[in-house]
């Protein structure tokens, strides 16, 4: 069986597909890794505090860029519902891809966002405590106050690669 698809069609669909993973069926399920001890249990730091810092960081960064939730979801190419949940539900465990996309938009370290979310274990818990402290200083209002801006600047400084 042959199919006729144009380069234009492939280009358009590849753009829409973007970095989505496409798989189906039980056979596509990957095996588990059997060498060594499995990673089990939640990391020590895993808790709502760091997730709260992540939540506040995303919300403050979005507002400082004058983006609606919808616009940010569009720019980061993530699901609107995922972003809303991330900003509103402190118990929500985000997808690694979501954090990767957000890290690109906000120009901060993906691995640190992963650690804040609890997806990975932190190598250095110090910055997590700092992030939580900055987040706790912020209040959720429409425009960023000077205090919120300072909190956001602090969050960016501890979440950047440098």
């Amino acid at each position: 069986m042959k199919i006729n698809v144009t380069k234009t069609w492939c280009k358009k669909m590849a753009g829409l597909e973007a970095f989505a993973e496409v798989g189906a069926g039980l056979l596509a399920i990957d095996p588990i890794l059997n060498d060594g001890e499995p990673v089990s249990g939640k990391p020590e730091h895993f808790g709502d505090e760091t997730r709260f810092a992540l939540q506040r960081f995303v919300g403050l960064s979005r507002r400082s860029m004058n983006l609606s939730v919808e616009k940010l979801a569009e720019r980061a190419d993530i699901d609107l519902s995922e972003l809303i949940t991330l900003e509103t539900d402190v118990h929500h465990l985000p997808e690694p891809r979501t954090l990767y996309q957000l890290a690109q938009v906000f120009n901060v370290s993906q691995s640190k966002l992963m650690e804040l979310s609890g997806l990975t274990q932190p190598k250095d818990v110090h910055y997590l405590e700092e992030a939580v402290r900055y987040a706790a200083r912020s209040e959720s209002i429409a425009k960023l106050t000077a205090e919120e801006q300072a909190a956001l600047d602090g969050l960016i400084s501890v979440l950047s690669e440098k």
């Binding site: 970095f19 989505a20 993973e21 990957d30 060594g36 939640k42 690694p96």
Partner: protein, 213 residues
């Protein structure tokens, strides 16, 4: 490229995410020994490395993509056993980039097209380097998934099934199928809780048109 005799080859294109350009690729209406060899020699080691990286990063095992009990040997054997079904593969740079196995014996479940024949996608997988979500890095090529869905639609039309297709989605692929216009019929407890999606003839036409507009 090592093609089987009698195999049909269609010219397709993938997006090279590094250069941003479209590159030539081939859609084969078969999964050959070459594809299986690529899988064992190139895919499996890379998935293995990715899993090790996830483990080293401290990602909880329960959060690993599709982490389930499975053995490679069983998986390869199972694919070989299904080669009697209509298969497809995409090859680019002389390496297999994606594979799909379809089953033409299934019937639709969606109200409105219930019990009508459809093309059921029994297996669809892209090469690990084309799976960005696995390690949070851009994939090498994009577009293979859409081309295989298109192939399933065209097969469905050829068989007189009017473009109807169905599949059980991997958890990280649910969004893709929903955006592709497929209808989510919910979790199937008989398929390790994978979600079952179906596409109607109208949605199939829309999927094709979407790439042309």
């Amino acid at each position: 490229m090592s093609r089987d005799e009698g195999m049909e080859v269609s010219s397709v294109f993938l997006l090279d995410n590094q250069s941003g350009s479209m590159v030539d690729a081939e859609l084969w209406d078969a999964i050959t020994e070459k594809n299986l060899a690529d899988w064992e020699a190139d895919w499996i080691p890379q998935v293995f490395d990715m899993m090790k990286a996830l483990k080293q990063k401290g990602v909880e095992r329960s959060l690993w993509p599709q982490s389930r009990h499975w053995h490679w040997s069983d998986k390869v054997r199972a694919v070989e056993e299904r080669l009697s079904n209509q298969c497809f593969s995409i090859v680019c740079d002389d390496v297999t980039q994606a594979m799909m196995i379809t089953d033409l014996t299934r019937r639709a479940q969606l109200e409105g097209q219930k019990n009508n024949h459809l093309v059921y996608i029994d297996f669809l997988e892209t090469a690990p380097w084309n799976r960005a979500g696995l390690i949070g890095q851009p994939s090498k090529y994009s577009g293979a998934g859409s081309i295989l869905i298109r192939a399933a639609i065209e097969l469905s039309k050829l068989e007189g099934f009017c473009g109807r297709i169905g599949l059980h989605s991997l958890p990280q692929s649910n969004d893709f199928y929903a955006k592709a216009g497929m209808i989510d019929l919910g979790v199937d407890v008989n398929y390790q809780n994978l979600r079952y999606f179906e596409m109607t003839p109208e949605q199939a036409d829309e999927f094709v048109i979407k790439g042309e507009s």
